[in-house]
């Protein structure tokens, strides 16, 4: 190989791939081409590089088996259905959770009403205030749970009335001073 001051064979060969790809800058390209003009060995390498690129570009695109897409589609469909089932299960769980919360609330209120009678007045008032806020928060959560549940029957007939009745009973108990917090089924309408 002929060696030139501007660019040696090693540097030129290193840039051959980028040269045939048109990825060299103008100055580098000129330097490599200048070297190639006087170096038969590097010109041969460029010819082989071009031959290789041609062969690589003739590699055919390959067709997947005809049923591959259907297999992927079936798997996607199965995943979609499984996701929907999981979503339905979660929605079904909401009314039950909401109803359970209301039952617990009622039990708590009853317990408080029973024990409150034995408390001195200042403690009783303070306890009622705190419990009222807490229960109002729970009642609101129950309403939201009922709405999220999407089960209108459960939401309208159990969760909303119970939570509403509880709230009203607590407010009445707080403002009137008595009777204590409690849940009256009559208020649930």
């Amino acid at each position: 190989m002929v060696r030139r001051e501007e660019m040696g064979c090693g540097n030129a060969v290193e840039r051959l791939e980028a040269l045939v790809d048109g990825e060299l800058g103008a100055r580098e390209q000129a330097a490599v081409e200048s070297h190639l003009a006087s170096c038969p060995g590097c010109r041969r390498e460029r010819t082989r590089a071009l031959a290789l690129r041609g062969a690589l570009r003739e590699l055919p695109n390959l067709d997947p088996p005809a049923d591959l897409l259907e297999r992927v589609r079936a798997a996607a469909r199965a995943e979609d259905e499984a996701r929907q089932r999981r979503g339905r299960s979660r929605r079904r769980a909401w009314p039950a959770l909401a109803a359970a919360a209301v039952v617990l609330l009622a039990a708590g209120a009853t317990l408080l009403r029973t024990t409150a009678r034995s408390l001195p007045d200042p403690q009783l008032v303070r306890a009622r205030v705190e419990v009222t806020y807490a229960f109002a928060l729970v009642a609101d959560t129950c309403r939201r749970a009922g709405a999220l549940a999407g089960r209108e029957v459960v939401a309208k007939r159990i969760v909303d009335p119970s939570a509403g009745a509880l709230s009203r009973a607590l407010r009445r108990g707080l403002t009137a001073g008595e009777p204590g917090p409690g849940l009256s089924p009559v208020d649930g309408g």
Binding site: L16, A18, E45, A51, L52, R53, L56, L59, P64
Partner: protein, 174 residues
């Protein structure tokens, strides 16, 4: 709903993914598995992969899946081969031209496909992305997550190695 959305989101990409996986792995059955896995992954992430970026995303995911496959093969070979010889599994070539192809004079295409599977990563991916997928060096850098200068070196070394593998078969081809 799946069937309606599916064609637009996934079906158009299957050939590209399968071709890339086939040449990367040199094994049709494994390429089918990878294609199925990658297209399903695209379906799952369809809301997070905007269509203009789907091509690069797919090639990146396909390449990673293929690299995982090759690693798994090597692990299996290590287990099977009691006298482990690292050079024997350095490159797993599964599509070596059969006797028929060699009898025909070993068509250049067959030998090239085989030689590709003998290239180490990331040279193999870089050469395939350049020549089969026709990406620019910059796009290859994005897909492989490597600097542009490294891509240039990968392609240079990969092609030089291919030229060495193919020897005189390349002469007279240009």
């Amino acid at each position: 709903m799946v069937d309606e959305e599916f064609s637009g989101a996934v079906a158009g990409h299957q050939r590209r993914v399968f071709t890339f996986a086939s040449y990367l792995l040199g094994n049709r059955a494994e390429a089918e598995d990878v294609t199925q896995e990658v297209l399903l992954r695209l379906w799952r992430h369809r809301s997070r992969v905007p269509e203009p970026h789907a091509g690069a995303w797919l090639l990146r995911v396909t390449r990673n899946a293929c690299v995982d496959r090759v690693r798994a093969r090597r692990s299996r070979l290590r287990i099977v081969a009691c006298g482990f010889d690292p050079t024997a599994v350095e490159s797993v070539a599964c599509c070596r031209p059969g006797p028929e192809a060699r009898a025909r004079g070993g068509e250049l295409r067959d030998r090239l496909a085989w030689a590709l599977t003998r290239l180490p990563e990331p040279q193999r991916s870089a050469v395939l992305l350049r020549e089969v997928e026709r990406l620019s060096y910059r796009e290859i850098a994005d897909v492989l997550g490597r600097p542009l200068a490294s891509i240039r070196v990968d392609i240079h070394r990969g092609r030089r190695r291919l030229r060495q593998e193919l020897g005189e078969d390349l002469d007279g081809q240009a």
